[in-house]
Structures are given as C-alpha cells and as structure tokens.
Symmetry: C2
Subunit: 208 residues, 2 copies
C-alpha cells in the first residue's frame, strides 16, 4: 500500500460529495464550514482536486457560463465515494496531534510576571466567550433546518468545549489566586512536567 494520503485530501473529496462545485466553490464552502476545525486554503483545494482527479476519485464537468468564467464542477466518482466511506469508517485514534497555542503559553507561563499571566488568561476567556457566542447563534440558526444536523452538532461540540474551558478558567482562578507558584524560580524548581514515571524528573543524565 502506498503512503497514506493526508486527511485534507479526503476532506476535499468529502466536500464535493456533499455538494459538487468548482474549486472556488469548494474552497468557499470549506471556509464557511470545515474552517472551524479543519482549515484548508484555496490553493490547497486546487492541488487536492488535481490529485483526486489523477486518482480517479473525482470527475470534472466543464460548465460554460455567459457572464462568468467557465468552470469545472467536480463530483466524486463511484470509486471516490467508496474510498470516502472507507476512510470515514476508519477509527480516528486519540493522538491526533492537536495543538493548543494557549496551553503552550500557559504551561511555559510560570516564567511570566503575574500581570502577563493575568492578561493571557483574560484574553483566553474573552476568545472563549466570543467563540461560545458565535457557535450559539450558529446552532440557533440551524435549528430545524433539514440536512443541517451534522453542522449543528459539530457547532455544539465546539460550544460544549468552550463552556468547559470557561469553567476551567473559573476553577483554576481560585488556585492561582493563592499565588503558590514556586516554579516562578526556574533554576530551583522541579520541572513540573506531565510525566508518567512517578513524578521525578526523567531522563536525567546518568552521572559516572
């Protein structure tokens, strides 16, 4: 078997399976839907369509337009639909390489002056609130619209996540107010790393 294709390839395939369209169309649609949890740039859409075509998974129908440029409307081939369903059915696994910029800063943030940490947390709270609000209005709008179920439930997933993280902010607020942060002096502190080896600093260089 050849090297596994990137998820983005299947994402584009899935998009034109939902609704056939030009590369431009699909990119615009991706930007309004998948972008929340799987951003794809316009250029990449074209590249993936090229690949999908060479794999025989999509087929382009040239559509002439009078006041607009001609375009190719892409839809999946039967084979394309088959591999899409196959890919969808494969388990997702837990380590999906999720990157969280906030946590990165938060974890390293013991170095920060308290005021900066304050600002970081406030900023995070604000963006979570905004996200919750946005998603709430999306959900409300999609209520009862046939065929919008998956979109609405995806938005709900994001909203529940945002809510939980806001609750987390309240939860840690108490703990950080006690200002019990010994790691503010890095040279003397334990690393505080999330390890599974009993709390000792692992991978210490063995001394001769």
């Amino acid at each position: 078997m050849a090297t596994a294709l990137p998820d983005t390839t299947y994402a584009v395939l899935g998009l034109c399976a939902k609704k056939p369209g030009s590369g431009y169309d699909l990119a615009a649609l991706a930007d309004q839907s998948l972008a929340y949890f799987w951003p794809i740039s316009r250029t990449l859409v074209y590249r993936e369509l090229e690949r999908l075509q060479s794999l025989g998974w999509v087929d382009g129908e040239l559509v002439h337009q009078v006041r607009l440029p001609d375009k190719s409307v892409w839809s999946p081939t039967p084979e394309g639909r088959r591999v899409l369903v196959e890919w969808l059915a494969q388990p997702v696994g837990s380590h999906t390489g999720v990157r969280n910029r906030f946590l990165l800063k938060f974890f390293l943030g013991a170095q920060m002056p308290p005021a900066a940490m304050r600002a970081l947390l406030d900023d995070y709270r604000e963006s979570l609130c905004a996200m919750r609000g946005d998603l709430a209005s999306v959900i409300e709008r999609l209520q009862g619209i046939p065929g919008a179920t998956m979109g609405r439930l995806s938005a709900l997933h994001g909203m529940r996540t945002a809510e939980a993280r806001l609750a987390w902010l309240d939860e840690i607020e108490i703990e950080l107010r006690t200002d019990d942060r010994p790691e503010a002096h890095p040279e003397r502190a334990s690393t505080g790393y999330i390890t599974t080896d009993g709390g000792q600093d692992a991978h210490r260089t063995r001394r001769p």
Copy 2:
C-alpha cells in the same frame, strides 16, 4: 520586523528556560510534557536550537562526560529570556488553526452508513475515556508537588475538555437515535454548512 518565528521556536526556548539540557534532554522532556498539546519531534528540537543559537537567544555549554557522549547544555541568554517573556505576554487569539480529525469525519459522516457512524462515535468515546483516565492519574500524582502546578492545571484543562466531549456524546446520542438524518441523501439535501449568512447555501454561482 522579520517574519514571525514559529511557536515551536519559543517552545524550545521555554523548555530550556525551565530546565537547561542537551537537545536530547529537551526532546525527551518535550515528549513527556508539551507533547500533549504541542508535539515536537527530536530532529526539530535540534534545528530550533541551532536557530535559537544563531539568534543569540540560547547559549550552549559543552559538558564532558566519561561514560557517555559529550553534550551541549543549552540555556537561554538574558536576551533569550527577554523575548520569551515578550512572546508569552502576546495574546493568543481565538483562531489558532486547531485541527480536529474527529470533527472532520463527523461532519462529513452524513455520507456514512449508520453502522460506520456508530463505530466512529464509539471509537471517539473510547479514546476520550482513555484520555480522561490518563489525565486523572497525572493530576493525582502531581497533587502537592511543588513546581508542578502548571503541569497539573494543563492536565486539568485536558480532562475538563474530555469530560465535556463525553457529555456531548451523550447529548447527541438522543438526537441521532431518532435517525432524522435527511443529509444521508447528499444530492437532494442542503449542505448543512456552518455559515453566517442566514442558512442559505452561500456562494452559489450567480445565474445570468
């Protein structure tokens, strides 16, 4: 101002600010801590150290060892500490390009036969349970360890997120059992996209 450096550069800088060490050490530490929310491969650590050195943000002290290979122990320069704090203080923004492989499949999953959707959800639940369990034990172990506060709270962030998503699974279970999924027939259905334009399919090609 030159192009912004990737967050990973600051991540490595932050690591050796927490605890100076060889590239090997830092990679191992990253693998036990940051890997949960910011994975960095070993090779990349070396490349970033090189860059950090050329920027004058870290300094390497050569340490001779008798039974082990010599190594360079990296620590941040005063300038390095300054830019680290500066970077930490910058707001994180909401759209951090978070990718969620599960949501990608879930959203496109209207195409799937119900059994495959079932499998996808069960799989997701299982990995969330595992994650919650792992993080719970991490948190318990870090209880009361001085200097482990940030690590513990980061783990708590992950646990709360996992809990909320498990609750989301329960929440949607009811809705999906009704089997009201008109988008199972893509050709006839609305796209169900998360848009902000009033629920109509946007970017339709204007007809002449």
